[in-house]
Every structure is written in structure tokens, then in C-alpha cells.
Amino acid sequence: MNVELFVNLFFSGLTRGSIYALLALGYTMVYGIIQLINFAHGEVYMIGAFTALIMTSVFTILNLPALAIVALALLIAIVWSSMYGFTLDRIAYKPIRNAPRLSALISAIGMSLFLQNYVRLAQTSDFLPFPRLIPRIPFLNAVPGLNSSQFVIFVTTAVVMVILTVLIKFTRIGKSMRATSQDRVMAMLSGVNVNRVISITFVIGSVTAAIGGVLISSHIGQINFYIGFLAGIKAFVAAVLGGIGSIPGAVLGSFVLGLTESYGAGYISSDYEDVFAFVFLVVILIFRPSGLLGKASSQKV
């Protein structure tokens, strides 16, 4: 058994898992509130990465200091992604809130296709090199197999998780979100502005997606308009794995999926890397449809 390979795969699995977690949160929160798979969520992540890339290049040409570039690019990427998330909901989902679920799902797929091609046409269909935004951190050299961008990804993910947990558990808006997800009509009757809660959910999901997009693009070093789709689907798989609607479940599912993919690619075959996620999904849905941490729910008639 090669220890070095094992450790390397462990860290790369954790990195994947962190990114899936940042994305899966958006899925699971939106699903929890309006029972919709937001297929276009992966596109928001992609748009976040593109915005960051564009802004970094602009600021580099303007000769800003390195730290300012990172901070500003990340900030703008987050703000713009959340604007996209908000607009997306207003255009594609809000008008059909009470329509059958099939309609919303088709609308979501349409939005995903639209946003992908919007970026393809407005920017390029080629892979663009993404600058390394994360500087080297010297003290990490002591840990073999861990590089600084992976470290930053773990830390950021952990911080985002903590902030989100606090937000949902202890704030007023978190309380309204929980109320809306339990029973939308009842929440409305109790004076919760449901439309605002839904919008805020989309915004929060987009913020975490943008953070994930920027971090992973900087780690991998290249992006194109198609990156959001597969990442989005896999993050959804992770959310289902953990039990959709459950936030700790989404995180757990993401790490399980990330590690499985990493070890699967390392020890079995990297050609079939993408297959693992889907096989996993099918197996989970057959044997434990409510996911690892989800509550089993019977359908109301």
C-alpha cells in the first residue's frame, strides 16, 4: 500500500468534497424551501468563476496589489453571482410557483441551457487559464501532499458552514427559512414574507456557489462555460446522498462523494471517474431514498 498516494488522494477527495459541499448547500436549501431542483445552480457557480477571472485580469492590468485583486475579484464574483441567482428565480421560477413540478423542472433545465450558452457566446467556448489567486503558505510545507490552495479550500468551506449554521439556527431570517420549508402556506399566514425568504435562499445559495467556483477554478487553473453542469449534477448527487433538505446531510454527502470519486479514480480507473457519482446515486435512491441523514417522509395524498 502506497501511503503517499493514499494521503494525496485523501486530500484531493477532501478538496472535491469541500467544493461539492459549497454547491450542494445551494441545492439543498432551495429544495428544502420550494421542492425544486435548481438545475441552473451549477451555472451560477460557473458565472462566479468567470466573473472572478474577468475581474482579476482587469485588476492585474490596472496594477493593483495582489491581495486587493483577490479580495475585490472574490467580492465582485459573489455579488454578481447572487444577482444572477436572484434574477434567475424571478424570471424562471417565480411565475410558475404554483404550477406542477414538471413545469418548474423544465424551466430550470431551460435556464441552465440558456446561461451556459450566454457565457459561451458572450465570452468563449475555449478553456481559459485561471490565475492562481491563492498564495503559497510556507508553514504548510511541513504537511506532505497538501498544497496551500487545498488548505484554503478546507478552511473556507468550514467557515462558510459555521456561518450558515449560525444563520439558519439563530437568526430571524433563518427562522423564517425553516418555517417556510416546513409549511409554506402556514408560514405565510404567520406573517413570513415567503417570496423574500425564497429570494434570500437563492442569494445565499449563489454566494456559496460563487465561493466554490472561484476557489476550485483557482485550484485547477482553467475554466470554460461547461464546468458548471457536471459540478452541479454531482453536487446534487451529494445533496441527495446526504438527504436532500438537510444541511449537515449535504456536507456529509459531499465529503463521502468527493472521497469516493478520488479513491475510485486513483485505485480503479480515472476514465470512469464520473460514473461513480451516478452509480452511487442510483444505489442510494434504491436502498435509502431519504439519504444518509434525511428523514423518511411518506407522500401526502
Binding site: 474577468i54 434574477t87 413545469s103 431551460g110 450558452n117 446534487f236
Partner: protein, 449 residues
């Protein structure tokens, strides 16, 4: 006043979109030479576009709201309901109240026909229907003889998509299951023929039923894990299945020749005659036409069959259908298997038409394209689905300069259809059964019961 507010709202929206799309639309960075290109002219495009778009969007939203959803059917209730109803209504046996004959919902098609003094029934009269069908067949048969080879080729691909869309319509339109992996079955059909032809030199006609059968097998294979799933989960599992099929086709190079694909697949033969290229394209056209006619016939028969009705019931409400004695497991299996058969046939035809296939032809967006056809035309409506497929294949062909915007438009189309016209261009007509009004027992005002 109202229009002023509307305009102000749209102007605000235009400003929002200008800000929103600014980084992606205006700035373009060349990462090699490190230069920025500012494309300010696009900002004007965005502002005008979103301003007009918003006005149109709002207009249609208002119109939709004015038309409202299903109107309350007050006609069914007696006009003079007693003001003070007794607290407890007497038990009424609605089950035995006679039903009126089925009433078919009227759609814009019916209203349009009524304006010129016709109805759908007009087309059911043999005196009208027979000449119409004969004329349509005549046009279809004469088409390759009077047009160029290029036109015929486009029409063949349109016909293949008509088959695919009608097949998918069985699963989505009747069964109400969002199937996002339809291209996988198309791929299975195409690869079945390509591989049989490549390794064993099997001809088109033998491969056609084999392709359909193999594809059906895969359909059942997929249906088994999704039997317990509904809605979103079903969509994502079918999507995953399609990706698995594509990845396996790409990576199993020793069998499928990998991403470079299989070339020089034989075109269809005709009783061993040697055909020139143009003749064989015409032959392909007629085969496609024949298959489409068979498909239309089968789906029409299916719609009114026992299985078809079971599927519709299941699509409407899974649990209610089960309660009414529909074997939903069998219905789901049937829907997936039947859908897959048509994809398999279309796949074999596709492989023989292009003579070259590779896994790239069967990406997820191929499934979404077929889905768009079904959605645009009208889920569950056969003429609608045919129209949708023809529109989505032929329009981009004739609007070549705009073809790079094709997918962008399809995406927008899916959203717009869902928001404004979820039933599609030619909506499916549903039969409505109503209780005969006079048979609803009304409690006496005295309340002595």
C-alpha cells in the same frame, strides 16, 4: 398612469440587466496578450433588449392573469342555493349520478377552427379526412423527387427527430415522467447497428429490429431502478444513466473505438440493388417516412388503449391511479420500454444515414433538445409534438446565420413556454367527465333531514 408605471418599471429592469450582464457581456479579456476589450456597444443592445423584453413579458403576464386559470364551473351548481345550509349535509351518492358523455376541452385550435365554421369533428369525417391524408402523403412522397438532395437530407433528420419526440412523448406526455436520458437509448440503437455492421457486417434491415430490441432491454434496465422514484429524482437518475452510457461508450475503446467513433457504416440496402448515393439518400428518406407513419399510427392507437389510459392516469397522480387499480409498476416499465423502442429505431436509422457516429452525438443536450420539441409542441399532443420537432429542426437549418444562437434560444424557449404556455403550441385535449347538473341532490332549505 398605468402605462407610465409600466415603462418606469421596465426602465429599472433594463438598468438592472445592464449592471447584471456587464462583466460577462462587456468585458472580454485576452489572457495571452493581457489586454482587455471593452464592448460597450453591447450595453445598448442589452438595455434596449431587456426594456422591450420586459414590456412584452409584463403584457403577456397580465394577459395570462386576465384569462386566469381554470374558470370556476359555476354552471354545474344550481343557481339558487339556499342561503342557510344545514350544518350537516345529507350523504349523497355521487357515485351513482350519471355522467355526461365526455366533453373535450376547447383549446385555441378549436376556437380558431370555429371561427372558420369548422371543428375538429370536421376532420374526422371520411370525406374530409381521406383526401387530406392522401394529399399529405402525396406531398411527402413527392418531396425528395422535386427538391434537392440537401433538402431531402435535412428532412430525413427532421423525420428522425419526429420519431424521437413521439417516443419521448410516451414517457413524458402520457406517463408524466421527466426523462432526461432519452439520448442514451438513441445511442444504444445507433451503436447496436454500428457495432453489428462493423464487426459482423450485419445489414440495416436485420439491425433495425435488433436495435429496437436492445434499446428496449436498456429501457427496462433503467426502469427497474427508477420504479420507486418520482419527479425530480427520476429526472436526475435518467440523466445519470445517460451520462453513464456515454462515458462507457467513450472509454470502452476496445469495443466501441472510443471517442473517435465508428465510420463507414453501411447505408440501407434495397433488395440487394446497388444504389447511387442520391438513390440511397432517397431510400433513407422513404424508410424514415415509413417509420414515422408507423410511429404516428402506433402512438395514436396507444393513446386510446388500456395501457395509454393507465399511463395518463399515472401521469396525473401516481397514488390515485394505484388506488383505482392501475398496475403502476407495469405501466412504468411499459412506458420506458416503448419509449426506448422508438429511440432505438431512430438510432439505427441515424447511424445508417450519417454512416459515422461517435459518443459526442449523444450528449445530455441531445436529450434536452428532444425534450424541447415535446414541450414546445405540447406534452401529450401528437400533432403538437410533430410540429415541435419539425420547427426545432427545420427553423435552425433555414436560419443558418443564426445557428450559433440555437441552444440559447432553446433554453429561453423552455422557460418562456413553461411560464406562458405550459400546454404547448397545440395543447393536448383532455376529456372531461361531468356529473349531470340536475342530478346533484340539493338539500332542502328547511333542513328537516
Amino acid at each position: 398612469m398605468d402605462t407610465l408605471r409600466e415603462i418606469r418599471r421596465s426602465a429599472l429592469l433594463a438598468a438592472w440587466f445592464m449592471v447584471l450582464t456587464f462583466p460577462i457581456m462587456v468585458i472580454r479579456v485576452n489572457t495571452i496578450t493581457n489586454t482587455i476589450e471593452w464592448r460597450w456597444e453591447r450595453l445598448i443592445l442589452i438595455s434596449v433588449g431587456s426594456f422591450v423584453g420586459s414590456l412584452v413579458w409584463n403584457y403577456f403576464q397580465r394577459r395570462k392573469r386576465a384569462q386566469g386559470g381554470p374558470r370556476p364551473q359555476t354552471a354545474d351548481l344550481p343557481a339558487d342555493l339556499p342561503a342557510d345550509l344545514p350544518a350537516e349535509l345529507p350523504a349523497t351518492d355521487i357515485g351513482s349520478a350519471p355522467l355526461t358523455p365526455p366533453v373535450e376541452q376547447r383549446t385555441w385550435v378549436d376556437r380558431g377552427l370555429a371561427r372558420v365554421g369548422m371543428s375538429r369533428a370536421t376532420f374526422r369525417k371520411p370525406a374530409v379526412a381521406v383526401p387530406l391524408i392522401v394529399a399529405a402523403l402525396g406531398v411527402a412522397i413527392a418531396y425528395p423527387l422535386v427538391t434537392s438532395l440537401y433538402q431531402t437530407n435535412i428532412m430525413v433528420s427532421a423525420l428522425i427527430y419526429v420519431m424521437l419526440a413521439l417516443g419521448l412523448n410516451i414517457v413524458i406526455g402520457l406517463g408524466g415522467m421527466l426523462h432526461l436520458g432519452y439520448a442514451a437509448f438513441y445511442a444504444v440503437g445507433a451503436y447496436t447497428y454500428a457495432l453489428l455492421n462493423h464487426y459482423f457486417d450485419v445489414g440495416f434491415w436485420v439491425a433495425l429490429p435488433i436495435g429496437a430490441a436492445v434499446s428496449m432491454l436498456f429501457g427496462i434496465l433503467l426502469a427497474i431502478p427508477v420504479l420507486r422514484l418520482r419527479g425530480d429524482y427520476l429526472a436526475i437518475v435518467t440523466l445519470g444513466f445517460a451520462e453513464i452510457v456515454r462515458i462507457v461508450l467513450t472509454n470502452w475503446s476496445s469495443l466501441t473505438l472510443g471517442p473517435s467513433g465508428i465510420r463507414s457504416i453501411n447505408r440501407p440496402t434495397f433488395f440487394g440493388l446497388s444504389l447511387s448515393l442520391s438513390q440511397s439518400i432517397n431510400l433513407t428518406y422513404f424508410i424514415a417516412l415509413g417509420l414515422v407513419i408507423i410511429t404516428i399510427f402506433v402512438v395514436y392507437r396507444l393513446e386510446n388503449s388500456r395501457i395509454g389510459r393507465q399511463l395518463v392516469a399515472m401521469g396525473e397522480d401516481d397514488i390515485a391511479a394505484r388506488a383505482m387499480g392501475v398496475d403502476t409498476v407495469r405501466a412504468k416499465l411499459t412506458a420506458f420500454a416503448l419509449g426506448a423502442v422508438w429511440a432505438g429505431l431512430a438510432g439505427v436509422l441515424f447511424a445508417s444515414r450519417t454512416t459515422f457516429i461517435n459518443p459526442e452525438s449523444f450528449r445530455v443536450w441531445e436529450s434536452v433538445l428532444i425534450l424541447s420539441m415535446v414541450v414546445l409542441g405540447g406534452m401529450g399532443s401528437i400533432p403538437g409534438v410533430i410540429l415541435g420537432a419539425l420547427l426545432l429542426i427545420l427553423l435552425p437549418e433555414y436560419l443558418r446565420p443564426l445557428s450559433q444562437y440555437r441552444l440559447l434560444v432553446f433554453g429561453a424557449l423552455l422557460v418562456i413556454m413553461m411560464v406562458f404556455k405550459p400546454a404547448g403550441l397545440i395543447p393536448k385535449r383532455r376529456r372531461l367527465y361531468r356529473l349531470q347538473p340536475e342530478e346533484i341532490p340539493v338539500p332542502d332549505a328547511g333542513g328537516d333531514s
